[in-house]
Amino acid sequence: AAYQAEFDARIDAGATIEAKDWMPEAYRKTLVRQISQHAHSEIVGMLPEGNWISRAPSLKRKAILLAKVQDEGGHGLYLYAAAETLGVSRDDLTEALLSGKAKYSSIFNYPTLNWADVGVIGWLVDGAAIMNQIPLCKCSYGPYARAMVRVCKEESFHQRQGYDALLAMMGGTDEQRELVQDAVNRWWWPSLMMFGPHDADSPNSGQSMRWGIKRISNDDLRQKFVDATVKQAEVLGVTLPDPELKWNEARGHYDFAAIDWDEFWNVVNGHGQCNVDRLAARVKAWEDGAWVREAAVAHADKQAAREKAAA
Protein backbone atom coordinates (compact mmCIF):
# COMPACT_ATOMS: atom_id res chain seq x y z
CA ALA A 1 0.00 0.00 0.00
CA ALA A 2 2.90 2.31 0.75
CA TYR A 3 4.41 1.26 -2.55
CA GLN A 4 1.12 1.98 -4.27
CA ALA A 5 0.99 5.44 -2.76
CA GLU A 6 4.52 6.23 -3.81
CA PHE A 7 3.78 4.94 -7.32
CA ASP A 8 0.64 7.06 -7.57
CA ALA A 9 2.55 10.10 -6.39
CA ARG A 10 5.24 9.64 -8.98
CA ILE A 11 2.67 9.20 -11.74
CA ASP A 12 0.86 12.31 -10.59
CA ALA A 13 4.11 14.23 -10.51
CA GLY A 14 4.79 13.16 -14.09
CA ALA A 15 7.93 11.27 -13.11
CA THR A 16 8.92 8.16 -15.08
CA ILE A 17 8.73 4.64 -13.74
CA GLU A 18 11.76 2.47 -14.40
CA ALA A 19 12.14 -1.29 -14.70
CA LYS A 20 13.57 -1.68 -11.19
CA ASP A 21 10.76 0.37 -9.60
CA TRP A 22 7.81 -1.19 -7.88
CA MET A 23 4.64 -1.03 -10.01
CA PRO A 24 1.11 -2.36 -9.65
CA GLU A 25 0.57 -5.69 -11.37
CA ALA A 26 -2.24 -4.28 -13.54
CA TYR A 27 0.06 -1.47 -14.72
CA ARG A 28 2.72 -4.00 -15.62
CA LYS A 29 0.24 -6.19 -17.44
CA THR A 30 -1.24 -3.28 -19.36
CA LEU A 31 2.22 -2.21 -20.46
CA VAL A 32 3.28 -5.71 -21.47
CA ARG A 33 0.12 -6.06 -23.53
CA GLN A 34 0.52 -2.69 -25.17
CA ILE A 35 4.27 -2.82 -25.82
CA SER A 36 4.20 -6.37 -27.14
CA GLN A 37 1.21 -5.59 -29.34
CA HIS A 38 3.17 -2.69 -30.66
CA ALA A 39 6.24 -4.86 -31.24
CA HIS A 40 4.14 -7.51 -33.00
CA SER A 41 2.66 -4.78 -35.19
CA GLU A 42 6.11 -3.77 -36.32
CA ILE A 43 6.99 -7.36 -37.17
CA VAL A 44 3.75 -8.16 -38.98
CA GLY A 45 3.97 -4.69 -40.51
CA MET A 46 7.06 -5.80 -42.41
CA LEU A 47 4.90 -8.06 -44.55
CA PRO A 48 2.52 -5.76 -46.45
CA GLU A 49 5.30 -3.46 -47.58
CA GLY A 50 7.80 -6.30 -47.89
CA ASN A 51 5.42 -7.66 -50.52
CA TRP A 52 6.72 -4.95 -52.88
CA ILE A 53 10.47 -5.02 -52.27
CA SER A 54 11.15 -7.47 -55.07
CA ARG A 55 8.93 -5.43 -57.41
CA ALA A 56 9.99 -1.88 -56.52
CA PRO A 57 10.01 0.14 -59.75
CA SER A 58 13.40 1.83 -59.35
CA LEU A 59 16.59 1.01 -57.49
CA LYS A 60 16.26 4.15 -55.41
CA ARG A 61 12.76 3.19 -54.28
CA LYS A 62 13.88 -0.36 -53.66
CA ALA A 63 16.65 0.87 -51.38
CA ILE A 64 14.32 3.23 -49.52
CA LEU A 65 11.74 0.49 -49.04
CA LEU A 66 14.34 -2.04 -47.87
CA ALA A 67 15.67 0.47 -45.36
CA LYS A 68 12.17 1.22 -44.15
CA VAL A 69 11.18 -2.40 -43.64
CA GLN A 70 14.49 -2.95 -41.91
CA ASP A 71 13.69 -0.05 -39.59
CA GLU A 72 10.38 -1.69 -38.74
CA GLY A 73 12.22 -4.83 -37.77
CA GLY A 74 14.52 -2.67 -35.66
CA HIS A 75 11.53 -1.07 -33.91
CA GLY A 76 10.23 -4.54 -33.19
CA LEU A 77 13.57 -5.44 -31.72
CA TYR A 78 13.79 -2.58 -29.26
CA LEU A 79 10.13 -2.74 -28.35
CA TYR A 80 10.60 -6.42 -27.47
CA ALA A 81 13.59 -5.29 -25.40
CA ALA A 82 11.40 -2.72 -23.64
CA ALA A 83 8.80 -5.42 -22.94
CA GLU A 84 11.53 -7.70 -21.58
CA THR A 85 12.34 -5.10 -18.92
CA LEU A 86 8.90 -5.97 -17.53
CA GLY A 87 9.87 -9.60 -17.00
CA VAL A 88 8.56 -11.37 -20.10
CA SER A 89 10.72 -13.17 -22.64
CA ARG A 90 10.76 -12.55 -26.37
CA ASP A 91 10.08 -16.23 -27.00
CA ASP A 92 6.91 -16.05 -24.91
CA LEU A 93 5.77 -12.97 -26.75
CA THR A 94 6.51 -14.58 -30.11
CA GLU A 95 4.63 -17.68 -29.07
CA ALA A 96 1.63 -15.50 -28.14
CA LEU A 97 1.72 -13.85 -31.55
CA LEU A 98 2.03 -17.08 -33.51
CA SER A 99 -0.70 -18.86 -31.58
CA GLY A 100 -3.06 -15.99 -32.33
CA LYS A 101 -3.41 -15.06 -28.66
CA ALA A 102 -1.70 -11.69 -28.98
CA LYS A 103 -3.04 -8.99 -31.24
CA TYR A 104 -1.26 -6.68 -33.63
CA SER A 105 -2.48 -3.59 -35.42
CA SER A 106 -5.43 -4.45 -37.66
CA ILE A 107 -4.20 -2.13 -40.36
CA PHE A 108 -1.74 -4.78 -41.48
CA ASN A 109 -4.58 -7.12 -42.34
CA TYR A 110 -5.30 -5.10 -45.45
CA PRO A 111 -3.50 -6.13 -48.64
CA THR A 112 -0.97 -4.02 -50.58
CA LEU A 113 -2.30 -4.12 -54.11
CA ASN A 114 -0.28 -1.63 -56.08
CA TRP A 115 3.01 0.16 -55.73
CA ALA A 116 1.30 3.34 -54.52
CA ASP A 117 0.18 1.40 -51.45
CA VAL A 118 3.76 1.60 -50.23
CA GLY A 119 3.68 5.37 -50.44
CA VAL A 120 0.21 5.62 -48.95
CA ILE A 121 1.19 3.39 -46.04
CA GLY A 122 4.05 5.78 -45.38
CA TRP A 123 1.84 8.82 -45.63
CA LEU A 124 -1.40 7.71 -43.97
CA VAL A 125 -0.60 4.65 -41.90
CA ASP A 126 2.72 5.89 -40.56
CA GLY A 127 1.13 9.30 -40.22
CA ALA A 128 -1.65 7.91 -38.06
CA ALA A 129 0.86 5.82 -36.13
CA ILE A 130 2.91 8.90 -35.33
CA MET A 131 -0.17 10.73 -34.06
CA ASN A 132 -0.82 7.78 -31.79
CA GLN A 133 2.79 7.43 -30.73
CA ILE A 134 4.03 10.93 -30.10
CA PRO A 135 2.16 11.12 -26.79
CA LEU A 136 3.81 7.81 -25.86
CA CYS A 137 7.21 9.50 -25.90
CA LYS A 138 6.08 11.03 -22.63
CA CYS A 139 4.52 7.85 -21.33
CA SER A 140 5.09 7.10 -17.64
CA TYR A 141 7.16 3.97 -18.22
CA GLY A 142 10.72 5.04 -19.00
CA PRO A 143 11.99 2.22 -21.25
CA TYR A 144 8.84 2.43 -23.39
CA ALA A 145 9.00 6.22 -23.59
CA ARG A 146 12.63 6.13 -24.68
CA ALA A 147 11.97 3.46 -27.30
CA MET A 148 9.12 5.57 -28.64
CA VAL A 149 11.34 8.62 -29.03
CA ARG A 150 13.49 6.69 -31.43
CA VAL A 151 10.55 5.02 -33.17
CA CYS A 152 8.78 8.34 -33.72
CA LYS A 153 11.85 9.95 -35.18
CA GLU A 154 12.22 7.18 -37.74
CA GLU A 155 8.51 7.04 -38.44
CA SER A 156 8.38 10.71 -39.39
CA PHE A 157 11.22 10.08 -41.76
CA HIS A 158 9.22 7.20 -43.29
CA GLN A 159 6.16 9.36 -43.54
CA ARG A 160 8.03 12.02 -45.48
CA GLN A 161 9.52 9.38 -47.77
CA GLY A 162 6.08 7.90 -48.42
CA TYR A 163 4.64 11.28 -49.21
CA ASP A 164 7.59 12.02 -51.47
CA ALA A 165 7.02 8.78 -53.42
CA LEU A 166 3.39 9.79 -53.93
CA LEU A 167 4.38 13.28 -55.08
CA ALA A 168 6.63 11.68 -57.69
CA MET A 169 3.78 9.48 -58.91
CA MET A 170 1.27 12.35 -58.98
CA GLY A 171 3.74 14.25 -61.12
CA GLY A 172 3.93 11.30 -63.52
CA THR A 173 1.49 9.71 -65.95
CA ASP A 174 -2.31 9.44 -65.67
CA GLU A 175 -1.92 5.77 -64.90
CA GLN A 176 0.39 6.54 -62.02
CA ARG A 177 -2.08 9.06 -60.61
CA GLU A 178 -4.79 6.41 -60.83
CA LEU A 179 -2.62 4.06 -58.79
CA VAL A 180 -2.28 6.68 -56.07
CA GLN A 181 -5.98 7.48 -55.98
CA ASP A 182 -6.82 3.77 -55.87
CA ALA A 183 -4.48 3.28 -52.94
CA VAL A 184 -5.85 6.30 -51.08
CA ASN A 185 -9.39 5.01 -51.59
CA ARG A 186 -8.48 1.74 -49.97
CA TRP A 187 -6.35 3.01 -47.09
CA TRP A 188 -8.20 6.13 -45.93
CA TRP A 189 -10.86 4.51 -43.79
CA PRO A 190 -8.65 1.82 -42.32
CA SER A 191 -6.22 4.60 -41.34
CA LEU A 192 -8.95 6.41 -39.43
CA MET A 193 -9.79 3.17 -37.68
CA MET A 194 -6.22 2.98 -36.41
CA PHE A 195 -7.13 5.38 -33.62
CA GLY A 196 -9.45 2.77 -32.18
CA PRO A 197 -13.10 2.89 -31.11
CA HIS A 198 -14.85 6.08 -30.12
CA ASP A 199 -13.89 7.26 -26.64
CA ALA A 200 -17.27 6.18 -25.38
CA ASP A 201 -16.63 2.61 -26.57
CA SER A 202 -13.02 2.38 -25.40
CA PRO A 203 -13.22 0.71 -22.00
CA ASN A 204 -9.52 0.67 -21.08
CA SER A 205 -8.75 4.21 -22.04
CA GLY A 206 -9.65 5.75 -18.68
CA GLN A 207 -7.26 3.64 -16.62
CA SER A 208 -4.47 4.09 -19.18
CA MET A 209 -4.96 7.84 -19.01
CA ARG A 210 -4.82 7.70 -15.25
CA TRP A 211 -1.53 5.76 -15.41
CA GLY A 212 0.01 8.16 -17.84
CA ILE A 213 0.31 5.47 -20.50
CA LYS A 214 -2.25 7.10 -22.72
CA ARG A 215 -2.35 10.89 -22.86
CA ILE A 216 -4.83 11.90 -25.57
CA SER A 217 -8.19 10.28 -26.39
CA ASN A 218 -8.85 8.23 -29.52
CA ASP A 219 -11.32 10.70 -31.00
CA ASP A 220 -9.10 13.70 -30.35
CA LEU A 221 -6.17 12.03 -32.06
CA ARG A 222 -8.35 10.97 -34.98
CA GLN A 223 -9.61 14.52 -35.44
CA LYS A 224 -6.08 15.86 -35.30
CA PHE A 225 -5.06 13.36 -37.97
CA VAL A 226 -7.94 14.27 -40.27
CA ASP A 227 -7.25 17.96 -39.91
CA ALA A 228 -3.59 17.54 -40.76
CA THR A 229 -4.17 15.12 -43.63
CA VAL A 230 -6.79 17.03 -45.59
CA LYS A 231 -4.29 19.74 -46.46
CA GLN A 232 -1.63 17.20 -47.47
CA ALA A 233 -4.17 15.50 -49.74
CA GLU A 234 -4.89 18.80 -51.43
CA VAL A 235 -1.21 19.45 -52.09
CA LEU A 236 -0.90 15.93 -53.44
CA GLY A 237 -3.97 16.32 -55.63
CA VAL A 238 -5.85 13.25 -54.46
CA THR A 239 -9.44 13.02 -53.30
CA LEU A 240 -10.09 11.53 -49.90
CA PRO A 241 -12.95 9.03 -50.32
CA ASP A 242 -15.45 10.76 -48.06
CA PRO A 243 -18.10 13.00 -49.61
CA GLU A 244 -19.00 14.31 -46.15
CA LEU A 245 -15.52 15.58 -45.46
CA LYS A 246 -15.67 19.37 -45.06
CA TRP A 247 -14.40 22.19 -42.92
CA ASN A 248 -16.61 23.05 -39.97
CA GLU A 249 -15.94 26.66 -39.11
CA ALA A 250 -17.80 26.42 -35.81
CA ARG A 251 -15.79 23.44 -34.56
CA GLY A 252 -12.57 24.62 -36.14
CA HIS A 253 -12.16 21.08 -37.45
CA TYR A 254 -13.02 18.98 -40.47
CA ASP A 255 -16.22 16.98 -40.23
CA PHE A 256 -16.08 13.49 -41.64
CA ALA A 257 -18.53 10.64 -42.24
CA ALA A 258 -19.31 7.88 -39.78
CA ILE A 259 -16.78 5.07 -39.60
CA ASP A 260 -17.91 1.55 -40.52
CA TRP A 261 -17.31 -0.03 -37.14
CA ASP A 262 -18.64 -3.37 -38.34
CA GLU A 263 -15.68 -3.58 -40.67
CA PHE A 264 -13.35 -2.52 -37.86
CA TRP A 265 -14.55 -5.27 -35.54
CA ASN A 266 -14.59 -7.85 -38.31
CA VAL A 267 -10.92 -7.26 -38.94
CA VAL A 268 -10.10 -7.14 -35.23
CA ASN A 269 -11.89 -10.45 -34.81
CA GLY A 270 -9.87 -12.17 -37.48
CA HIS A 271 -12.01 -11.76 -40.59
CA GLY A 272 -10.02 -9.13 -42.45
CA GLN A 273 -8.67 -9.83 -45.89
CA CYS A 274 -5.20 -10.82 -44.74
CA ASN A 275 -5.49 -11.97 -41.11
CA VAL A 276 -4.98 -15.59 -42.10
CA ASP A 277 -2.19 -14.86 -44.59
CA ARG A 278 -0.23 -12.61 -42.24
CA LEU A 279 -0.22 -15.05 -39.38
CA ALA A 280 0.53 -17.93 -41.73
CA ALA A 281 3.53 -16.04 -43.10
CA ARG A 282 4.89 -15.44 -39.61
CA VAL A 283 4.30 -19.03 -38.55
CA LYS A 284 5.98 -20.32 -41.68
CA ALA A 285 9.03 -18.10 -41.16
CA TRP A 286 9.27 -19.26 -37.56
CA GLU A 287 8.82 -22.95 -38.32
CA ASP A 288 11.10 -22.93 -41.36
CA GLY A 289 13.73 -21.22 -39.23
CA ALA A 290 13.57 -23.62 -36.29
CA TRP A 291 16.55 -25.66 -37.48
CA VAL A 292 18.61 -22.49 -37.87
CA ARG A 293 17.93 -21.33 -34.33
CA GLU A 294 18.67 -24.83 -33.04
CA ALA A 295 21.95 -24.87 -34.96
CA ALA A 296 23.01 -21.56 -33.43
CA VAL A 297 22.34 -22.87 -29.93
CA ALA A 298 24.06 -26.18 -30.63
CA HIS A 299 27.12 -24.47 -32.01
CA ALA A 300 27.34 -22.06 -29.10
CA ASP A 301 27.12 -25.00 -26.70
CA LYS A 302 29.86 -26.85 -28.54
CA GLN A 303 32.06 -23.76 -28.51
CA ALA A 304 31.51 -23.26 -24.80
CA ALA A 305 32.34 -26.91 -24.11
CA ARG A 306 35.50 -26.69 -26.20
CA GLU A 307 36.62 -23.54 -24.41
CA LYS A 308 35.96 -25.13 -21.06
CA ALA A 309 37.93 -28.23 -22.03
CA ALA A 310 40.80 -26.08 -23.24
CA ALA A 311 40.87 -24.02 -20.06
Binding site: S54, P57, L59, K60, A168, A285, A290, W291, R293, E294
Partner: protein, 253 residues
Protein backbone atom coordinates in the same frame (compact mmCIF):
# COMPACT_ATOMS: atom_id res chain seq x y z
CA UNK B 1 39.60 8.20 -66.19
CA UNK B 2 40.68 5.55 -68.65
CA UNK B 3 39.20 5.48 -72.09
CA UNK B 4 36.08 3.32 -72.36
CA UNK B 5 36.56 0.09 -74.25
CA UNK B 6 33.83 -2.55 -74.71
CA UNK B 7 35.75 -4.74 -72.29
CA UNK B 8 35.84 -1.99 -69.70
CA UNK B 9 32.07 -1.51 -69.96
CA UNK B 10 31.45 -5.24 -69.86
CA UNK B 11 33.64 -5.57 -66.80
CA UNK B 12 31.74 -2.87 -64.89
CA UNK B 13 28.39 -4.24 -66.02
CA UNK B 14 29.36 -7.63 -64.69
CA UNK B 15 30.09 -6.14 -61.29
CA UNK B 16 26.88 -4.13 -61.35
CA UNK B 17 24.70 -7.05 -62.36
CA UNK B 18 26.28 -9.29 -59.73
CA UNK B 19 25.37 -6.76 -57.04
CA UNK B 20 21.89 -6.23 -58.51
CA UNK B 21 20.90 -9.88 -58.72
CA UNK B 22 22.49 -10.91 -55.44
CA UNK B 23 20.79 -7.97 -53.74
CA UNK B 24 17.44 -8.95 -55.25
CA UNK B 25 17.76 -12.50 -53.93
CA UNK B 26 18.74 -11.30 -50.47
CA UNK B 27 15.81 -8.91 -50.36
CA UNK B 28 13.41 -11.82 -50.90
CA UNK B 29 14.10 -12.83 -47.30
CA UNK B 30 12.79 -9.62 -45.82
CA UNK B 31 10.14 -10.50 -43.22
CA UNK B 32 10.70 -14.25 -43.54
CA UNK B 33 14.04 -14.87 -41.81
CA UNK B 34 14.60 -17.44 -39.04
CA UNK B 35 15.10 -14.76 -36.35
CA UNK B 36 14.43 -11.06 -36.24
CA UNK B 37 18.13 -10.24 -36.05
CA UNK B 38 18.62 -12.02 -39.38
CA UNK B 39 15.74 -10.11 -40.94
CA UNK B 40 17.74 -7.02 -40.14
CA UNK B 41 21.08 -8.45 -41.24
CA UNK B 42 19.74 -9.79 -44.53
CA UNK B 43 17.97 -6.51 -45.30
CA UNK B 44 21.17 -4.71 -44.44
CA UNK B 45 23.21 -6.80 -46.84
CA UNK B 46 20.55 -6.48 -49.52
CA UNK B 47 20.73 -2.72 -49.07
CA UNK B 48 24.49 -2.76 -49.49
CA UNK B 49 24.20 -4.66 -52.75
CA UNK B 50 21.38 -2.52 -54.11
CA UNK B 51 23.51 0.51 -53.28
CA UNK B 52 26.53 -0.99 -55.06
CA UNK B 53 24.35 -1.85 -58.04
CA UNK B 54 23.15 1.75 -58.25
CA UNK B 55 26.67 3.13 -58.32
CA UNK B 56 28.02 0.51 -60.69
CA UNK B 57 25.15 0.60 -63.16
CA UNK B 58 25.13 4.39 -63.17
CA UNK B 59 28.81 4.28 -63.90
CA UNK B 60 28.27 1.68 -66.64
CA UNK B 61 25.66 3.96 -68.18
CA UNK B 62 28.19 6.79 -68.24
CA UNK B 63 30.86 4.55 -69.75
CA UNK B 64 28.42 3.37 -72.39
CA UNK B 65 27.45 6.93 -73.24
CA UNK B 66 24.04 6.09 -74.67
CA UNK B 67 21.98 7.78 -72.02
CA UNK B 68 20.99 4.66 -70.11
CA UNK B 69 20.74 5.27 -66.37
CA UNK B 70 20.85 2.82 -63.46
CA UNK B 71 17.15 1.97 -63.79
CA UNK B 72 17.17 1.51 -67.53
CA UNK B 73 20.03 -0.90 -67.12
CA UNK B 74 18.58 -2.62 -64.07
CA UNK B 75 15.04 -3.09 -65.35
CA UNK B 76 14.87 -2.87 -69.12
CA UNK B 77 17.32 -5.40 -70.46
CA UNK B 78 16.47 -8.88 -71.67
CA UNK B 79 17.78 -11.89 -69.82
CA UNK B 80 20.74 -12.60 -72.09
CA UNK B 81 22.01 -9.07 -71.58
CA UNK B 82 22.67 -9.51 -67.86
CA UNK B 83 26.25 -10.28 -66.97
CA UNK B 84 26.06 -11.54 -63.38
CA UNK B 85 27.71 -14.86 -62.53
CA UNK B 86 25.09 -17.60 -62.39
CA UNK B 87 25.78 -18.16 -58.70
CA UNK B 88 24.08 -14.83 -57.87
CA UNK B 89 20.76 -15.89 -59.35
CA UNK B 90 20.51 -19.28 -57.63
CA UNK B 91 17.34 -19.47 -55.53
CA UNK B 92 17.34 -19.04 -51.77
CA UNK B 93 15.98 -22.56 -51.20
CA UNK B 94 16.77 -22.40 -47.49
CA UNK B 95 18.84 -20.31 -45.08
CA UNK B 96 21.87 -22.55 -45.63
CA UNK B 97 21.84 -21.88 -49.36
CA UNK B 98 21.67 -18.14 -48.75
CA UNK B 99 24.52 -18.15 -46.24
CA UNK B 100 26.79 -20.46 -48.24
CA UNK B 101 26.15 -18.46 -51.37
CA UNK B 102 26.67 -15.18 -49.56
CA UNK B 103 29.92 -16.46 -48.14
CA UNK B 104 31.27 -17.79 -51.45
CA UNK B 105 30.36 -14.58 -53.26
CA UNK B 106 31.35 -12.34 -50.38
CA UNK B 107 34.83 -13.86 -50.18
CA UNK B 108 35.21 -13.23 -53.88
CA UNK B 109 33.97 -9.65 -53.55
CA UNK B 110 36.37 -8.94 -50.73
CA UNK B 111 39.36 -9.81 -52.92
CA UNK B 112 37.80 -8.06 -55.87
CA UNK B 113 37.13 -4.73 -54.16
CA UNK B 114 40.47 -4.77 -52.46
CA UNK B 115 42.16 -5.01 -55.87
CA UNK B 116 39.78 -2.52 -57.47
CA UNK B 117 40.71 0.16 -54.97
CA UNK B 118 43.69 0.66 -57.26
CA UNK B 119 41.72 0.69 -60.50
CA UNK B 120 42.79 3.05 -63.26
CA UNK B 121 39.08 3.89 -63.49
CA UNK B 122 38.86 6.40 -60.67
CA UNK B 123 35.12 6.22 -60.32
CA UNK B 124 35.37 2.47 -60.00
CA UNK B 125 38.16 2.83 -57.45
CA UNK B 126 35.93 5.08 -55.37
CA UNK B 127 33.08 2.57 -55.48
CA UNK B 128 35.54 -0.15 -54.50
CA UNK B 129 36.72 1.75 -51.44
CA UNK B 130 33.16 2.00 -50.15
CA UNK B 131 32.20 -1.54 -51.12
CA UNK B 132 35.29 -3.05 -49.54
CA UNK B 133 34.08 -2.11 -46.08
CA UNK B 134 30.70 -3.62 -46.75
CA UNK B 135 32.26 -6.80 -48.08
CA UNK B 136 34.22 -7.26 -44.87
CA UNK B 137 31.00 -7.32 -42.90
CA UNK B 138 29.32 -9.66 -45.42
CA UNK B 139 32.13 -12.21 -45.19
CA UNK B 140 32.20 -12.03 -41.43
CA UNK B 141 28.46 -12.39 -41.04
CA UNK B 142 27.93 -15.17 -43.59
CA UNK B 143 31.15 -16.90 -42.58
CA UNK B 144 29.98 -17.04 -38.96
CA UNK B 145 26.76 -18.65 -40.09
CA UNK B 146 28.55 -21.14 -42.33
CA UNK B 147 30.49 -22.27 -39.27
CA UNK B 148 27.43 -22.31 -37.02
CA UNK B 149 25.41 -24.31 -39.51
CA UNK B 150 28.19 -26.67 -40.50
CA UNK B 151 29.25 -27.25 -36.91
CA UNK B 152 25.74 -27.04 -35.42
CA UNK B 153 23.16 -29.82 -35.41
CA UNK B 154 23.01 -32.86 -37.61
CA UNK B 155 20.24 -31.26 -39.66
CA UNK B 156 22.05 -27.95 -40.09
CA UNK B 157 25.21 -29.77 -41.14
CA UNK B 158 23.26 -31.81 -43.67
CA UNK B 159 21.60 -28.70 -45.08
CA UNK B 160 24.84 -26.72 -45.21
CA UNK B 161 26.58 -29.58 -46.98
CA UNK B 162 23.71 -29.93 -49.46
CA UNK B 163 23.86 -26.21 -50.18
CA UNK B 164 27.62 -26.36 -50.66
CA UNK B 165 27.32 -29.37 -52.97
CA UNK B 166 24.68 -27.56 -55.00
CA UNK B 167 26.47 -24.21 -55.23
CA UNK B 168 30.13 -25.14 -55.38
CA UNK B 169 30.13 -26.10 -59.08
CA UNK B 170 28.91 -22.59 -59.92
CA UNK B 171 32.11 -21.11 -58.51
CA UNK B 172 34.00 -22.55 -61.51
CA UNK B 173 32.46 -19.77 -63.53
CA UNK B 174 33.85 -17.01 -61.33
CA UNK B 175 37.37 -17.82 -62.41
CA UNK B 176 36.77 -18.75 -66.03
CA UNK B 177 39.13 -16.71 -68.16
CA UNK B 178 37.88 -14.63 -71.05
CA UNK B 179 39.05 -11.71 -73.20
CA UNK B 180 37.07 -9.20 -71.15
CA UNK B 181 39.20 -10.01 -68.14
CA UNK B 182 42.44 -9.92 -70.09
CA UNK B 183 41.64 -6.55 -71.59
CA UNK B 184 40.48 -5.10 -68.26
CA UNK B 185 43.62 -6.36 -66.58
CA UNK B 186 45.85 -5.00 -69.33
CA UNK B 187 44.21 -1.57 -69.06
CA UNK B 188 44.53 -1.56 -65.30
CA UNK B 189 40.75 -1.43 -64.87
CA UNK B 190 40.78 -4.44 -62.60
CA UNK B 191 42.17 -7.91 -62.10
CA UNK B 192 41.36 -10.77 -64.41
CA UNK B 193 38.95 -12.73 -62.25
CA UNK B 194 40.99 -15.87 -62.79
CA UNK B 195 43.84 -14.19 -60.91
CA UNK B 196 41.78 -14.27 -57.74
CA UNK B 197 41.20 -18.03 -57.75
CA UNK B 198 44.06 -19.02 -55.54
CA UNK B 199 43.51 -16.46 -52.78
CA UNK B 200 39.79 -17.10 -52.86
CA UNK B 201 40.19 -20.82 -52.48
CA UNK B 202 42.59 -20.40 -49.59
CA UNK B 203 40.24 -18.07 -47.72
CA UNK B 204 37.15 -20.14 -48.39
CA UNK B 205 38.62 -23.54 -47.61
CA UNK B 206 39.79 -22.36 -44.20
CA UNK B 207 36.27 -21.46 -43.16
CA UNK B 208 34.68 -24.54 -44.70
CA UNK B 209 37.14 -26.68 -42.79
CA UNK B 210 36.31 -24.90 -39.56
CA UNK B 211 32.65 -25.57 -40.41
CA UNK B 212 33.47 -29.29 -40.77
CA UNK B 213 32.09 -29.23 -44.31
CA UNK B 214 33.46 -31.38 -47.10
CA UNK B 215 34.64 -29.43 -50.10
CA UNK B 216 33.22 -31.03 -53.24
CA UNK B 217 35.64 -32.19 -55.90
CA UNK B 218 35.97 -29.95 -58.93
CA UNK B 219 33.99 -31.28 -61.90
CA UNK B 220 33.79 -30.29 -65.55
CA UNK B 221 30.49 -28.50 -64.78
CA UNK B 222 30.50 -25.08 -66.34
CA UNK B 223 27.97 -22.26 -66.12
CA UNK B 224 28.04 -19.14 -68.25
CA UNK B 225 26.07 -16.35 -66.56
CA UNK B 226 28.82 -13.75 -66.75
CA UNK B 227 28.91 -14.36 -70.49
CA UNK B 228 25.15 -13.79 -70.73
CA UNK B 229 23.98 -17.39 -70.80
CA UNK B 230 22.14 -17.95 -67.53
CA UNK B 231 20.30 -20.63 -65.64
CA UNK B 232 16.54 -20.98 -65.86
CA UNK B 233 16.25 -19.14 -62.54
CA UNK B 234 17.15 -15.69 -63.82
CA UNK B 235 14.13 -15.37 -66.09
CA UNK B 236 11.76 -15.90 -63.19
CA UNK B 237 13.63 -13.41 -61.03
CA UNK B 238 13.49 -10.82 -63.81
CA UNK B 239 9.77 -11.38 -64.41
CA UNK B 240 9.15 -10.21 -60.88
CA UNK B 241 11.81 -7.52 -60.71
CA UNK B 242 10.97 -5.92 -64.03
CA UNK B 243 7.21 -6.16 -63.88
CA UNK B 244 6.42 -2.62 -62.82
CA UNK B 245 8.85 -0.75 -65.08
CA UNK B 246 7.73 -2.95 -67.98
CA UNK B 247 4.05 -2.35 -67.18
CA UNK B 248 4.34 1.44 -67.04
CA UNK B 249 6.70 2.33 -69.86
CA UNK B 250 8.09 5.83 -69.62
CA UNK B 251 6.98 6.42 -66.05
CA UNK B 252 9.42 7.73 -63.46
CA UNK B 253 9.02 6.86 -59.80
Amino acid sequence: MTQTTPAHLEYVLRLGDAALIHGQRLSEWCGHAPVLEEDLALANMALDFVGQARMLLSHAGVLEGKGRDEDTLAFLRHEGQYRNPTLCEMPNTDFAHTMIKGFLLGSFNLLMWSRLCGSSDEALAAIAAKSLKEARYHVEHTGDWVIRLGDGTEESHRRAQAALDMLWPYTNELFAANPTDDAAAAAGVGPAWSDLAEDWEKAVLAVLKHATLTVPARTPFQSYGKFGRHSEHLGHLLAVMQHLPRSFPGATW
